[in-house]
Amino acid sequence: MMHVRTFAAATTLALVLGLSGCGKGPDLDQTGPRPTLPGQDETLLPPMKIARPAGWDGAMPTVPQGFTITPLATGLKIPRQMLVLPNGDVLVAEGLGGGAPKLRPKDLIAGYIKSLGKTGTKGGNRVTLLRDADGDGRAELKSVLIDNLDAPYGLALVGGDLYVANQGALLRFPYRPGQTRIDAPGVEVTKLPAKPNHHWTKSLAASADGSKLYVGIGSNSNVGERGMAVEEERAVVWEIDRASGAHRTYASGIRNPTALAINPATQALWAVANERDELGAQLVPDYLTSVRPGAFYGWPYSYWGDHVDPRVHPQKPEMVRKAIAPDYALGSHVAALGLSFVTGGGFGGGYSDGAFVGEHGSWNRQDLAGYKVVWIPFTNGRPNGKPQDFVTGFIGKDGKARGRPVGVTYNALDRTLLVADDLSNTVWRIAPTPRGGTR
């Protein structure tokens, strides 16, 4: 009866190999305003490839010629987003939220596989202040500014009010310039949708005039598979009145708006957002977009305008008709988590007008995507040109990840770019190399 076992083994092998597909497609142009969108490719086993972590071991990310990179601070606890204060101090939100219950066998297995790409460091649940007074690119002072937070992510400062977006509430703290420790308890401006926080990050930006706060609230699922009841007020951007704490839904159907920023040329709100998985290695591109008030960006019913997602049931053609396409594709599965516009002429030259985007990196395709910081040139407040690699080298030659970029923040005070790396728990600082400098 050997043939029974042979048959079983051969069939299982054929299924596993054949039905997962290779997770790669032809090279498609998936960046810019009109990305090429291939047909949907739902496989029995989604392609999953995680870059296993490895230390930097003295190495550093790669930056373009004419720039120097230094670790501003190391030993952080899952640094995510940053904020530059008027006196040049840098705040870093450290945390790791979530905790949505595992509802089916897949959640156990996929959770384990994704955990292979992480370090196991616990989130700091704090905001750390970094001060580099001598400007050598390494912070001499590292002080816990605010402790005992709950997965803080978005940060904003308006006048003397420091806002911290926990995963379940927006808090306000009094801030005086030069302060390195805030003991005053935070005042809850408003609660934020908190359960079950499949996507937990609450991104934050203040309007140009400081009267409004915008909070990005991600969906509670990939594409509604936890049921639509948990998607109330999810995949939306809230506009919060700073004085009263009252909120309204500013835009919706944005699956996971992971970073918000005000475009300095137009004062309009922009966002980077992560799109859905498991429709193939080249669907759906993550995007950078202006957030138009009242607009619906499709999730979960459709993507990139009217491309219907068959996994949502019942389907809603009337919502698909309302859906608009975002402005600019960043590529599928790159996991854009950081967005920062340059101001005051930026680094000059080709870097005088535009935005940096931090890409945490993919899991849902065999050819790794993201794992870098890109520069997107703008003209007259609109993207104008292809993304250019700015910080790379996060994946070593051995295919292991040295770091994974999250938040990016352009510091107009000293013309540097800060990059939070939540794998090596570092904040990197990229500065133009001084003329006559050694590196």
């Binding site: 079983a8 509604g224 598979e225």
Partner: protein, 139 residues
Amino acid sequence: MPLAPPPRAPGALHPLHAMLLAFPVALFPGTLLADVTYLNSSEMQWSNFAAWLNAGALLFGAPALLWAVISAVRGPGRRAYALLLAATWIAGLVNAFQHSRDGWSSVGTTGLALSILSTVLVLAAGWAGYSVPRGGRLA
């Protein structure tokens, strides 16, 4: 056999083997019922139930299948039972992957077809497995 065989009808399954087989016989039809309920209600919880029922059938079905295959290799009897159980388990494995897709794609037409297939196969495998061969000399 890991346990001393207790007294039983000649040719009947070992009690532990029989209990292991009981799981897929119950759980694959349970998967099918949960799938039908999901397709009629669009309520995700039923698809989740189906995924767990199917996973349970595979978990307990695996040692039953191993046992069946070893018995079939050692002795001349029960080949049909082993083949049917192997086919059941493979259909269930494919269905587990199908049920790991999101939303409607976790079941859909393919998932329903696979649930029907694994249900029919496991009932046939159970029928063959629980039947005592005529003559009763086979172990």
